[in-house]
């Protein structure tokens, strides 16, 4: 078995595009993904034994993803599926765990395409069974063709909420309301910048019309204030908010529901890029820490590239283009692509990113994260879901002098649970910033340490590094 030259972590659009591009130019690529099948979240596939004979109106991206997945397989990329990348050592050595053991993958180039996860926004009742993220609802519908519930309230912000509503309606659920935090006023101001992206605009318009025709009330400038229920959610209360998404005076509305789907955008998964030693900066427009990158999408660690939502949430079209650009840079780094062909292909990938930047700019402005939404939580609201630490306990620690998220963690256990600070980190940083009168970047981030995801000791006990992969890419 010849040595791997490029490791790609993440099998979503960005990772697939990077792997395919590099492999097309003769690079020996290994791709690692925690899931049993490629596609990540956006290109989530149904299980192999499932099929939809009548090809219904949901899942255009499923077909698009299928094509790219098939191409990656056909190009002979070494696949490590069901495998958790839990650490990065010596700059480019990736530690990968399966239930059978762990192996080290070393290569000249490492492409991190770890994606993003739903931004957790604490509010009263958010831990009740039946309250789930937009991503969680999408996975049920896309992968398993299953409804998350029958009477659903959708709340949060962003165009994804329209997609969730579309899937729910197509699947036969009742959407009792769609609650968008942004006011979405003066859309006409953006018309010139949206003109080159009519396909995206038309898609959005089609979703909105579908929702209207289904009789779903849509509230803009509104947030879900609380979810109520005993053993599970049975009601949701919405109310108006201001331009910063802070709850504002005005009539509350109560809906009987069995499910609340909440989507407030996404946070980049930067655990691996941190473990690799890459420099990061806080990007206020995205409300997320992202790795610092060159024009070629290389991080501050030589040979380590970061692409897609994991390097800054920008959607699937950007992820595909970034994956391509990094794949070209990797091919160049390994001497497989030089001169005029390199310039031509790189120029095309960069041109695509430039074209998309205009649309992204409008979306980011329209749905800009409103920090006031942090005011939804009261002292009793759970902040750290894993360790069950309330907002009040964290605020008390901040009041007593904790000025960094790590200090609050040490004093209260926030961030010490199994999710390793993913669910509480973003909100905690805002609480610290607010409490100290400083900015979110100054609140810091939880010190990164391996493993990046919980792995059983048994997975670390057996070193599989020198054992060959089976045909399916998973060690015996």
């Amino acid at each position: 078995m010849s040595a791997v030259e490029c490791v790609v972590v993440g099998g979503g659009p960005a990772g697939l595009a990077a792997a395919a591009t590099a492999a097309r130019h003769g690079v020996r690529v290994a791709l690692v993904d925690e899931n049993a099948e490629l596609g990540g979240q956006y290109y989530r596939q149904m299980p192999p034994s499932f099929s939809v004979p009548d090809s219904p109106r949901i899942g255009r991206e499923t077909t698009e993803g299928r094509r790219l997945i098939d191409e990656v397989r056909a190009l002979g990329v070494d696949l490590h599926l069901g495998s958790v990348a839990w650490g990065v050592f010596d700059q480019r050595t990736v530690a990968v765990a399966t239930p059978e053991g762990s192996r080290r993958l070393e290569a000249e180039a490492l492409v991190l395409a770890a994606g993003a996860y739903d931004r957790p926004v604490p509010f009263p009742g958010w831990t009740l069974p039946g309250v789930m993220t937009a991503g969680g609802a999408q996975n049920l519908m896309k992968a398993y063709r299953m409804l998350p519930g029958r009477r659903v309230l959708i709340a949060g912000s962003g165009p994804l909420l329209l997609v969730v509503a579309h899937y729910l309606l197509q699947g036969g659920a009742e959407v009792v309301a769609l609650c968008e935090a942004s006011a979405l006023r003066r859309l006409w101001r953006y018309a010139p910048r949206l003109a080159p992206h009519l396909d995206f605009v038309q898609q959005g318009y089609r979703y909105r019309r579908e929702i209207q025709e289904a009789g779903v009330p849509m509230f803009t400038g509104h947030v879900v204030r609380r979810a109520v229920g005993h053993a599970e959610v049975n009601g949701a209360v919405i109310g108006p908010c201001d331009a910063d998404w802070r709850p504002a005076p005005g009539p509350e509305r109560h809906f009987d529901v069995d499910t609340v789907v909440v989507g407030y955008g996404f946070v980049s998964s930067v655990e691996l890029s941190r473990l690799a030693g890459c420099e990061h900066r806080y990007e206020p427009a995205l409300g997320s820490w992202v790795p610092v990158r060159s024009r070629d999408l290389e991080t501050t660690v030589p040979g380590v590239f970061a692409v897609g939502d994991g390097a800054g949430v920008a959607g699937s079209a950007v992820a595909l283009a970034e994956g391509r650009l990094a794949g070209l840079a990797v091919a160049h780094r390994l001497g497989r692509l030089i001169g005029r062909e390199l310039s031509r292909e790189t120029a095309r990938a960069r041109g695509r990113l430039l074209h998309l930047a205009g649309f992204r700019g409008v979306m980011d402005a329209l749905y800009r994260f409103g920090p006031g939404v942090r005011a939804l939580a009261d002292a009793e609201t759970t902040l750290c879901r894993c360790e069950e630490v309330t907002v009040g306990e964290a605020v008390e620690a901040i009041g007593e002098g904790a000025g960094h998220v790590n200090e609050v963690k040490a004093w209260t256990r926030v961030g010490m649970g199994r999710c390793q600070g993913r669910m509480c980190g973003p909100a905690l940083a805002h609480l610290v910033a607010e409490g100290r009168g400083s900015d979110v970047a100054a609140a810091g981030f939880f010190t990164p340490r391996p493993p990046a995801k919980p792995v059983p000791l048994a997975a670390l006990a057996h070193d599989l590094t020198d054992e060959p992969l089976t045909e399916e890419g998973v060690a015996p």
Binding site: E34, N35, A36, Q41, M46, P47, P48, S49, F50, S51, V52, P53, D54, P56, Y117, D118, P120, T127, L128, P129, G130, V131, M132, T133, G135, G136, A137, Q138, N139, L140, M141, A143, Y144, R145, M146, L147, P148, G149, R150, G171, G172, A231, E232, N234, D258, T382, R385, C386, E387, E388, G417, R418, C419, R422, M423, K453, P454
Partner: protein, 104 residues
């Protein structure tokens, strides 16, 4: 309160299997996750939290939030959303941090 099967119509699914959830046999299809099979049967509740004994369930659906933890075939802390079903699999509601089976 969820009634009935939440599976969408018009889909060819994997072969039918049965799993048990807190002793009750529920239908599933090969290829589904434990979380999906439980949710389809209207069971959104996976565990009682350790400190306050709060009910928790499926939240992020992608293996990140660690809230859908259940006891599978006697082993605790298993993410229901990342675990495929198979015939005869047993799932139990997890209480707190769970209990590990003691080696004989």
């Amino acid at each position: 309160m969820i009634q009935g099967d939440l599976r969408m119509v018009g889909v060819v699914r994997g072969s039918a299997v049965r799993i048990s959830v807190d002793g009750e046999s529920i239908p599933a299809h090969e290829g589904e996750s434990v979380a999906a099979a439980m949710l389809a049967a209207g069971r959104r509740f996976t565990r009682w939290s350790a400190r306050a004994g709060e009910p928790r369930g499926y939240f992020c659906g992608m293996g990140v939030c660690q809230d859908c933890l259940v006891v599978v075939d006697g082993r605790p802390n298993v993410r229901a959303c990342m675990t495929p079903v198979r015939e005869g699999l047993t799932v139990d509601t997890q209480r707190g941090l769970g209990e590990w089976p003691v080696a004989p």
